[in-house]
Symmetry: C2
Subunit: 411 residues, 2 copies
Amino acid sequence: MMKHRIGEVTLTVLGPDGHPFADRVVTVAQQRHDFAFGNIGFDFIRPVGGPGQPGYFGGGEHIDLDTLADAWLGLFNTATLPFYWGGYEPRRGATDAVRLEKTARWLAERGVTVKGHPLLWHTVQPDWLLGLELDEVEALTRARIRDLAGGYAGLIDVWDAINETVIMPVFSNGDNAITPLAWDRGRIAMVRMAFEEARAANPGATLILNDFDLSSAYEILIEGVLEAGIRIDAIGLQTHMHQGYRGEEYMQKTLDRFARFGLPLHMTETTLLSGDLMPAEIQDLNDYQIPSWPSTPEGEERQAAEIVRHYRSLVGHPAVQAINYWGITDDGAWLGAPVGLLRADGSRKPSYDALAGLIKGEWWLPPTEMRTSADGEVTVSGFFGDYTADGVAFSISPGQPPYPAKILLNS
Amino acid sequence: MMKHRIGEVTLTVLGPDGHPFADRVVTVAQQRHDFAFGNIGFDFIRPVGGPGQPGYFGGGEHIDLDTLADAWLGLFNTATLPFYWGGYEPRRGATDAVRLEKTARWLAERGVTVKGHPLLWHTVQPDWLLGLELDEVEALTRARIRDLAGGYAGLIDVWDAINETVIMPVFSNGDNAITPLAWDRGRIAMVRMAFEEARAANPGATLILNDFDLSSAYEILIEGVLEAGIRIDAIGLQTHMHQGYRGEEYMQKTLDRFARFGLPLHMTETTLLSGDLMPAEIQDLNDYQIPSWPSTPEGEERQAAEIVRHYRSLVGHPAVQAINYWGITDDGAWLGAPVGLLRADGSRKPSYDALAGLIKGEWWLPPTEMRTSADGEVTVSGFFGDYTADGVAFSISPGQPPYPAKILLNS
């Protein structure tokens, strides 16, 4: 089932003299997955970037940075950082750039790919945009997209370019300046706006079309966007499962529907609860506000079992290239829901260990002693990614090996 | 509310000598609405075209042609005829063309605009298409569209070019050869196929994109189709209200959403019941099969009241250009539902008289005596359409009058 994720390389191990090293024991170890196993990095902004105005979720304050970083970096290689307009630029011209850049650098220094979310969306909007003319809103939107995509180029090269376009022009759960613009200009025009500005500002970026609406409407939007000649790099599919795990069959069908376009699928926002589920009749998850939403022992067992099923089914589908979980700890989580892999006190839930059992267990090559043949060869098989043999880097990649099939030991 | 439907023309009435005829009484009468008030003409196929294989709905047998024609022609100016592939060509190469052409001619001779429905759809498909390769299905589909659009040009110049594209690739309520084609090619590709073949075969035709899905998905499809450069002449909106009248507010919002594209809106399939409603939980109306579905006195009063409200709200919206009701009699109606304006025995329901009170009453200028001024002028105001004054034709059209403002009486 995972064979589309796994490759093999035969290394010729050369000694310091440049000759094949026969019958030599080398320690081979995986260093990183090619597959993006991500999570939000919102929780790092305060401890790393420094204190700021409240308003973001993911602003937990009860776990120290070391505990958080150990857990986070122990599992994930891709961090989503928030650039919601209303949070990033609450007053016109006064941005949160310093904290965000500091946080992004801290993550990048630890080998984490940093992703920005989102360049264009109708929710979490600044009040100061309200009441402006449509043309000015468009000009400001374009400028913001250029500034973010261009300003962070090299540090952040993956962006949710536009978020929730399906509902954008008919969104009715909060006044904002983007919905009237989308109503007037049209959905595809909004997608074009986001992608063309971001592409121009950072031609090397991976730009994602992201939505929670996984109905035919989204398929049709994608087809229209592609027909309109707009290049998108990945299709983003949200799956906030506050109302329950949707199961392998649903996911498989859904992935197949979106895989038809031949583009990588990014599971951009993934949540599974370790407590009571949200009632099914809630339409906009933001409408569900309860004073306390605890993680429960039964919920934690369920979450652990479901996270394994879910990740197995997603990684098992060849089109999926990324899974970003949406929460590391319950402390400060969106809606107060127990979505984290850590409890609010920083202790690890069963889901953390269960997911680690896949990402850093079943799907991972830990340091392993291997003995070279008489020709100095050793064959390594594993998930696509970065590896070392006695500390010397090599990789396992799809297709024919363009990577070095010979490695030179230092000692 | 109706001022976008009404125009005024000042006629100079000239006597046989060519001089203005002062103080002369002329009888002015409306002959036809520009607005398409339509209904299906399926019921005429047997009595006019001759007996054929069963299988069509609208194949009632209990009303004589005169009764049916009197009622139908008394209200409507546009007839939809069925060209369902499975009914039209049940065996490969053996079409129902003779009966259809005869029926279309009979209607056209009576001043009725004939519309064909539909060139491309996934339902009511011939069995012989099943199992063919996709490329062959596409070639046959293209040939059929060309043959119909081209073969009937001049007689049928209005077509539902493609029907129910939103669900087409994921339709699961019956095996057919079109759904796999749409899954493979994409929705916009199917729309392009239908429109480009039909347009090439009959460049003067009015080609309609038609759907029952009035959600965002359809809006998004339309935007994508337009972005792809496909010219569509009208947006078709079905409203089979077997589960109840949806009300003016819903209709107004819906019409506004689709009017944004600046294209005429055709209410292609309109039904209101004069009996029990279908339960709201039924998803595909075709799944509801009951042995008997009678028209009731209370249902008939409700239908009459609702048809007035519905037509008033639709005609009141400037973007609407056509309303096609979907059933003249309950005899042989789709699903056996009491949707007709006539009962199965041919007697008129209150809805017939109520609708006549609008189309041929409130919105109609009956023969009216008017007296010319000293300059021989008379000013006529009414719904856009064709009129006569003492038998001489003139029309009232939107915009500046390009139509003859002078009429010459014969006697």
